[in-house]
């Protein structure tokens, strides 16, 4: 030990070992003694040194309390979430307190301390003097304080040999016991079963162990006597039970140490480990001499039954007559839980099972659960495992924590077996344990990477709930990067591989995995990382080899960094996209005509380089249009810029600027058909019917004359429309006449074409009341067609 002077050593709830040094440094070692980490209790402690220290437990974890050389207290209520609290000064404290203890009440951590005759309760903010009620007038010094495991009770030992027991609030007294011993005990602790009516304290002196309870008498064991056997002594109706757990041989001159538990006290010496607790009521009832309790009778009944004796029936009858069979079974089950010898557990359970046969529907849960629990308890009590839990302790701890503790001890196979036996889901049970095993395995430095990776994969396979990336992270933590990469290969979720790979600076591999994952966000993460890590050239080069990443990055740039996008295209000699880029920027970035034309000219150049003749030419045409529009706009009331060519011509036509429109038509090689459409649409809109007629006669219409009819009808001018129907091609003539409402002509045209379906169409437009003549005509025509 090279670190410093250790003042106090103790376990935490997570089974770490704390070493509290006199300079206030607390070192944490794991259960195997390996150093984990350390923390300091602060400057004040460092300056004044640690005089005494205590480790205590709260619902949130383990805490450390320090008494400094300046007689001040500093506390940390949870060492995993370190917040130091310095307690106020105790008035008049010139010497170290005679005794003190940590008390957790209402989620607040306090300190109870005695300074000779004075008793104080100290908390964060205040210091309060208290007097325990009912101690009598005689002045006495408090030499020891004991606080129960659940912080509900408090006991004081006085220099007059009295023990005061009461509530931890110091408001209610339970009793005062005179021990006739003036020397203070070396250790003084509560020994309590939950819900017990017989609260007691245990103290040890040299060669003496004393139990004091709510009665006049005390039990004193010389160590030598206690060593003889497991014993039960009777004292004011309270039975005490000393369990020999590992090896029970006290030597007269051996030092012992007491460890309070939730339901009793462990007595540990250098060669033995015993557990002292009040005998639970069920066991008392059954095993009390000459007990007539239902459980006792049932046990007896079963014994007789095994002997095939009819006495069995007598016992059973007796229980049944009192209607207590149900209680009897329950008692036996409960008692079995508190027994340590498997043989005794078995006979109690068999008795319970026997009793159950005579109850029609005894719920099976309690029995089955107890049998299972006992099997687990017996397994862990085995000396090779060495976790001697009592049944209440096991229940308090929960099976999950127990499994954690087995994992902590690297007892993986047992932990897995227990999980399977207790039917704990694979996710929480077996897989989790295997993962822990794997994390342990990667720390075995002497084995080569390949072997470990294979061993882990063989054992873990595709078990649900296993995260290979967590195991890999552990391997990386241990400095085994190569192993970590090998393990990551087994990780099916690429998303989990990437962050670790980045952490290990395997960015290329990370990029590959990110792409494999199909998760764009992940790819972006790696790409952003690469962008910051690499110089621009290398970065582009890397992307070049990863088309997916590259196109995603392009997407990103398109919205966020257009200039980078340009660089990327430049690097690829992608002239088509560069052309597109300039077109886009001509719209979004340029605010002057010169600017736009310049950008478009750049686009033309790029399109030419890309050998996209069409795009180059059409963009040149666009430049031409912008210039024309700019010129024409000066003489026009309307905005022309940014209008499509089509709209530009249309606007000019509406303004009757036929010459200019005509010029654009020629300059931009607008197809005749479209120009005719443009022109008639504009003229009809202006209702310039004369001009429309003139235009229709200017030359033969490339779009036929049906559009003329349609456009006139559209503008509600059937009169004008009629002028053009005659010119409509024969196939459309009927449609034209119907459109202008001239059904008679329509019939004629249809008859001429001998077209029955056209005749039917006309028929469907007729109203019988007004169009009687036409209907007749149609019918006549139809019969004629049919004849031929």
């Amino acid at each position: 030990w090279k670190s410093g002077i250790v003042v106090h050593i103790g376990w935490t709830t997570r089974e770490d070992l704390l070493f509290i040094q006199d300079d206030g440094t607390v070192l944490i070692h794991d259960i195997f003694g390996t150093f984990k980490r350390h923390f300091s209790m602060g400057n004040e402690v460092l300056q004044n040194r640690v005089m005494e220290a205590k480790i205590f437990f709260t619902p949130y974890g383990s805490g450390v309390a320090i008494l400094t050389g300046a007689f001040r207290f500093t506390l940390a209520t949870n060492i995993d979430d370190l917040k130091l609290r310095r307690f106020p000064e105790v008035p008049g404290l010139q010497h170290p307190p005679t005794c003190w203890a940590v008390l957790v009440q209402d989620r607040q951590t306090k300190i109870v301390l005695a300074n000779g005759k004075d008793l104080f309760i100290l908390d964060n903010a205040s210091c309060r003097a208290v007097t325990p009620p009912g101690l009598g007038p005689q002045a006495c010094t408090f030499t020891q304080i004991a606080i129960s495991f659940n912080y509900k009770r408090l006991a004081l030992f006085t220099d007059t040999g009295n023990i005061w027991m009461g509530s931890s609030s110091l408001k209610d007294k339970l009793c005062v016991v005179d021990t006739n011993l003036q020397t203070p005990p070396k250790q003084f602790v509560w020994c309590n079963r939950p819900k017990s009516n017989n609260p007691s304290v245990v103290g040890i002196w040299d060669k003496l162990l004393l139990i004091a309870g709510n009665s006049k008498e005390t039990i004193k064991y010389p160590y030598a006597v206690t060593a003889k056997a497991v014993m039960a002594l009777l004292c004011s109706q309270v039975k005490w039970h000393l369990e020999r757990l590992i090896k029970s041989r006290f030597y007269q001159d051996e030092d012992v140490h007491l460890v309070p538990e939730v339901d009793g006290v462990r007595i540990i010496s250098s060669s033995s480990h015993e557990f002292l607790h009040e005998v639970p009521p069920a066991c008392q009832d059954i095993f009390r001499i000459a007990s007539m309790a239902p459980g006792a009778l049932l046990l007896e009944a079963h014994k007789e039954y095994e002997k095939e004796s009819q006495k069995s029936d007598e016992y059973l009858r007796e229980i049944k007559e009192q209607n207590l069979l149900f209680e009897a079974v329950e008692q036996c089950i409960e008692a079995a839980g508190n027994e340590y010898e498997p043989e005794m557990q078995k006979s109690l359970l068999r008795a319970a099972s026997f009793g159950k046969c005579f109850i029609s529907n005894f719920p099976p849960d309690t029995f089955v659960k107890m049998a299972r629990d006992l099997r687990v308890l017996n397994a862990i009590r085995d000396y090779t495992i060495g976790i001697p839990l009592s049944y209440p302790q096991y229940k308090q701890l929960t099976i999950e924590v127990l499994i954690d503790r087995l994992v902590l001890r690297r007892l993986y196979p047992l932990a897995i077996n227990i999980c399977k036996y207790m039917k704990i889901s694979e996710f929480q049970g077996a897989s989790r344990i295997l993962a822990h095993w794997a994390c342990y395995k990667v720390q075995q430095k002497e084995e080569p990477d390949d072997n470990i990776a294979r061993a882990i994969n063989n054992k873990l396979g595709d078990t649900p709930g296993i995260s290979y990336s967590e195991i890999a992270a552990k391997a990386y933590e241990c400095g085994r990067t190569e192993l970590a990469i090998k393990l990551l290969e087994y990780e099916p979720r690429s998303g989990e591989q990437v962050p670790l790979l980045l952490k290990m600076k395997r960015s290329q591999l990370a990029l590959l995995k990110a792409i494999e994952s199909g998760d764009t966000d992940l790819v972006y993460t790696v790409v952003t990382y690469l962008k910051n890590e690499m110089n621009r050239g290398d970065f582009f080069m890397t992307l070049q080899n990863q088309p997916v990443a590259l196109s995603l990055y392009r997407q990103f740039c398109k919205h966020q960094e257009p200039e980078t996008l340009k660089d990327l295209f430049n690097q690829d000699d992608n002239h088509q996209e560069l052309g597109n880029f300039y077109v886009r920027s001509s719209y979004s970035n340029e605010t002057t005509i010169e600017g736009r034309v310049a950008a478009l000219q750049n686009a033309v150049d790029e399109y030419n380089k890309a050998k996209n003749e069409f795009a180059a030419k059409i963009t040149e045409e666009q430049i031409k249009l912008v210039r024309c529009q700019f010129r024409l706009q000066k003489e026009s009331a309307k905005t022309l810029l940014d209008l499509p060519l089509h709209e530009t011509v249309s606007t000019l036509l509406l303004e009757s600027k036929h010459k200019q429109a005509e010029q654009l038509y020629k300059d931009f090689k607008i197809p005749d058909k479209r120009f005719w459409w443009l022109k008639i649409t504009a003229l009809a809109k202006k209702e310039d019917w004369e001009e429309l007629e003139r235009f229709s006669k200017s030359k033969k219409s490339p779009i036929g004359y049906m559009p003329f009819v349609e456009i006139c009808v559209k503008h509600h001018n059937k009169y004008e429309a009629k002028k053009y129907v005659a010119k409509v091609s024969p196939e459309q003539k009927v449609k034209g006449y119907i459109m202008v409402g001239d059904l008679e002509q329509a019939v004629e045209a249809a008859t001429e074409r001998k077209n029955e379906s056209e005749l039917n169409t006309i028929l469907s437009k007729c109203t019988p009341a007004t169009d009687q003549l036409i209907i007749e005509k149609i019918n006549r025509a139809k019969t004629q067609i049919l004849k031929k």
């Binding site: 952003t528 077109v583 886009r584 340029e590 605010t591 607008i670 479209r674």
Partner: protein, 473 residues
Amino acid sequence: MAIVWDEHLTGPFGLIAQYSLLKEHEVDKMFTLKEGRIPPADVKNIIFFVRPRLELMDIIADNIRCEDRLHGPHRDFHILFLPRRSLLCEQRLKEQGLLVHITHIEEYSLDLIPFDSDLMSMESESAFRVIANVKLPPEKFAPKKQNETGRDLPTEPKKLQLNSAEELYAEIRDKNFNAVGSVLSKKAKFISAAFEGRHNAKTVGEIKQFVSQLPHMQAARTSLANHTSIAELIKDITASETFFDNLTVEQEFMSGIDTDKVNSYIEDSIAQKEPLIKILRLVCMQSVCNNGLKQKVLDYYKREILQTYGYEHILTLNNLEKAGLLKPQTSTRNNYPTIRKTLRLWMDDINEQNPNDISYVYSGYAPLSVRLTQLLARPGWRSIEEVLKMLPGPHFEERQQLPSGLHKKRQQGENRVTLVFFLGGVTYAEIAALRFLSQMEEGGTEYIIATTKLINGTSWIKSMMDKLEPSLF
């Protein structure tokens, strides 16, 4: 608390949790995400429900800065990403120095939004509302009562949520538009017959039975009235000449008529400046059915489009070319007729009323995707190996190795369930075709459909358009 919504999310979220439900969970106010100040509200917590998009992060940043300037930091901000949190977005917030201001960043992984019992979509882009709900002109739905004039017509657009939970909708939704009318009229007769049934109910028992069916019948009558009105609205369109002409051209292309030269209908439509999307749909269709257009034809169309609709659409045309929807003919051989014949993509004798093949959905054209699905189930793709090579893009089969625990035994008589995932989107007609396959008795396969987006021809082309807004002049 208050929720600030990304506009695009209110639709999908409405399918899962209505405002009333949120209110029960202490949501006091709801706002739409936009720049500037969040409207004042007496709340402690503000939750942003957003898609993971950088531009939205900038808006959130702006919101929070405004808040802090006005009130100092007394509110808690939280961000809930849908469907996934994004490191990129968090990075953006960090750059803006705002990550510390945000108490929680969580994700609500809503990957697939259920639209119906057999249909899920990721809805990776907007336009959700349009699909899940229909908004209809109100005057068509005013209760018709004679001799009553001056009655106020409802003015709010009518909103209906449509899915298979509604019996009648489930029946008509996958019908050809020409077949809906007859179904509705049959239904109408059936319902009025059911109502007439009350005259036949003589005994108390019979009357009781009639009365117990009444609510169901009334619901059916309301539903019928709604759907008749909707069908009328649809008929206004499908009976129009424009629709008919357009359909005729489409069907000509699909059956391979005159696909190699400039189509005069398209030409005239451009000259009359019909909606650009319509033009693009037709041109693309022609290009696909001709395995690319002759350079001259293609350039002519492109020039016509650019001169008529504006040169900025050069980018949109380029996008379509990149997607292969529009392309110059590279070889003289046109594969489409072979594909069409082998895969029976065009059926001349279709039965719209009582369909016997998936081609009923387009009145002749059998959607390629669904035909491939059908052939995969029986007899398998091996039989069409040659044609598969002609289709754009690679094809492959991959068998997923399942961990032994995941194997599921099929019960006797239980149909095989196949999930068809449409990347990029699926149309309602394709869905209808797949549903038709599910219902075929000898098929033995049920199809569940998942997709990245529900689309139609218009929304699909729209998604490929590059919108350039002129910024000056």
